[in-house]
């Protein structure tokens, strides 16, 4: 460790005058990944034609294989966004789960300061939510 750490520390000192203010964890961010997921969800929810089979984007289909564990997920998410949950489950069981995961991912990318949506509940110290609450170390 020793030497390299010292040199790095002095580098921080040298960067001190040039660095921007440390608000990066609080201001909303625009991530490329969040943009991609967001565009996909908006397209699936509003514009995609879920009735007719379109051209598949799937690489396994392009290679000539019939089985693919991910196919139907797009339609499933689209159906879930339009409120047809039974049809969504029939198309792909993971559709609703995927929707929830993607929405939470977009949120955590855009608002990096908010560690999770559970955080306000954790601060209330309600029993199941406060399990992973960080406690100060007593010294």
């Amino acid at each position: 460790m020793g030497m390299s750490n010292w040199s790095e520390t002095s580098l921080y000192r040298r960067l001190a005058s040039a660095a921007p203010s440390p608000g990066i964890f609080r201001t909303p961010q625009l991530h490329r990944e969040a943009l991609m997921w967001g565009c996909a969800l908006v397209w699936l929810g509003l514009f995609a034609n879920l009735e007719q089979p379109g051209r598949s984007l799937c690489l396994l289909h392009a290679l000539g294989l019939d089985f693919c564990p991910g196919c139907g997920l797009g339609r499933s998410i689209g159906l879930a966004l339009r409120g047809q949950f039974a049809a969504s489950w029939a198309r792909h069981p993971l559709g609703l789960f995927a929707l929830a995961v993607l929405v939470s991912r977009i949120f955590s990318l855009t608002f990096p300061g908010m560690r999770s949506w559970i955080q306000p509940l954790r601060n209330l110290r309600l029993s199941p939510f406060s399990l992973r609450l960080r406690r100060p170390v007593a010294r």
């Binding site: 490329r32 990944e33 991912r105």
Partner: protein, 111 residues
């Protein structure tokens, strides 16, 4: 640290700037243990092309995304290819959180 780029240096400086020199060293040690190498993320993402998708998401602690990728072959390889493009941002985002946690830990130890 291996494969450290300018962005990482700048956010490390932002996070560690208000600590004194000893605290910075402690925080850097904690950060070094939690840091994810972008190249490792890239290699684990490549693993998705031969069947085991989503390992990189598990590694950086996104369990929901990991399960989703694993059971849908990386969302029909679209997600895997997206992450191949984005692997640097993915590592960087996880590292930012680790740096903030390291700084918070050191501040708690100060009291």
């Amino acid at each position: 640290m291996p494969n450290m780029d300018g962005t990482e240096r700048i956010f490390l400086h932002n996070v560690l700037g208000e600590l004194n020199e000893d605290e910075q060293i402690t925080a850097l040690q904690i950060y070094r243990a939690k840091r994810k190498d972008p190249q490792m993320i890239l290699l684990l993402t490549l693993l998705g092309l031969i069947g085991a998708a989503g390992i990189h998401r598990f590694i950086i602690g996104q369990i929901g995304m990991g399960i989703l990728y694993f059971f849908t072959a990386g969302i029909c390889f679209i997600g895997t290819i997206m992450d191949l493009i984005n692997y640097r941002q993915i590592a960087l985002e996880s590292n930012k959180q680790s740096a903030a946690e390291a700084a918070a830990t050191v501040k708690i130890m100060r009291r």
